[in-house]
């Protein structure tokens, strides 16, 4: 399957990719996006099976990207990987249609906990 990773930090995108590999999800196509607007465009052009997105990004935030996707009729599975895991943000994410929110810092166990069943 194809996984789109959206984060304005290149380092964090690499850490997410590394953690996916450590969690055993190492046989998938990875597409990177550097902010929410780039992610929105690449959901259209790349047709990923899952989006893993940061929340706080320039140009378009992760939650704005998710809202734009749902408003456009896209039902692509979407999860947040963000440094902010407060109950308010988890509620906001769930209300917007996110499947999960993984708070940074994370490890491969956190990924397995949230992604088992989501990633085939």
């Amino acid at each position: 399957m194809k996984i789109l990773i959206a984060d304005d930090s290149r380092v964090m995108r690499q850490i997410v990719i590394r953690t996916l590999r450590q969690a055993g999800y190492d046989d998938h196509d990875i597409v990177e996006a550097e902010d929410g607007a780039d992610a929105l465009a690449k959901v259209g052009s790349e047709n990923p099976d899952l989006v893993l997105s940061d929340w706080n990004m320039p140009n378009m935030t992760g939650i704005e990207c998710l809202q734009a996707l749902r408003a456009s009729g896209s039902a692509v599975p979407f999860g947040f990987v963000t440094s902010e895991g407060s109950p308010e943000m988890r509620e906001k994410a769930a209300n917007a249609g996110a499947m999960f929110l993984i708070a940074k810092p994370f490890n491969e166990d956190t990924f397995k906990e949230h992604l088992d069943g989501v990633i085939a």
């Binding site: 930090s9 380092v11 690499q14 850490i15 706080n56 407060s86 708070a103 940074k104």
Partner: protein
């Protein structure tokens, strides 16, 4: 003998909380240690010890805006910031680091630490994107909670500091 009221004492009538009322050093240290293990490496040890920062320092920080407003600032030697960036990049680290690699990696540590500090504070509040450079100045010495650690023999300070000046001292009415 006279004493000067610097306005640093906290009063129950203060409308604005200062950071020592909201979070303690142990909580900050625990957040930093967790971030270090996940981002820098599983075997990376932080020793809670104050050390003298070198002359050439670099800071990364994020701003928190809400019931408490301020910054979560990491400061260390420029060389240590580069070493940290290499550790985060792992095998993807280039032979020669660009400044933007350091900005990205060192800023991301501040982002993760800051996001978790924010989650421990009363909300709702917003978090800025990380910045790297010269740290914001301390506006109110009573509104600072600082933790000093040593990583690979080099000092790193983590300062959670208010962005607002002290409230005026109320004078007794007669």
């Amino acid at each position: 003998m006279t004493s000067t009221d610097t306005g640093q004492r906290r009063r129950s009538s203060d409308a604005r909380p200062v950071i020592p009322d909201l979070i303690d050093e142990a909580t900050i240290l625990s957040i930093v240690e967790e971030a270090w293990v996940a981002l820098v490496g599983e075997d990376e040890v932080l020793v809670p010890l104050a050390g003298d920062l070198p002359v050439d320092i670099l800071s990364s920080w994020v701003d928190v805006v809400g019931p408490w407003t301020g910054s979560v600032v990491l400061t260390t030697g420029r060389d240590t910031a580069e070493e940290l960036s290499r550790a985060l990049l792992g095998e993807a680290a280039p032979e020669v680091l660009e400044h933007e690699d350091v900005e990205d990696a060192f800023g991301e540590i501040a982002n993760v630490v800051g996001g978790n500090v924010k989650a421990a504070l009363p909300g709702p509040s917003g978090l800025s994107l990380p910045q790297v450079g010269n740290a914001p100045v301390v506006r109110n010495p009573a509104d600072v909670c600082r933790v000093d650690v040593v990583w690979r023999g080099e000092p790193v300070s983590i300062s959670v500091q208010g962005a607002l000046p002290p409230l005026p001292v109320s004078s007794p009415t007669h």
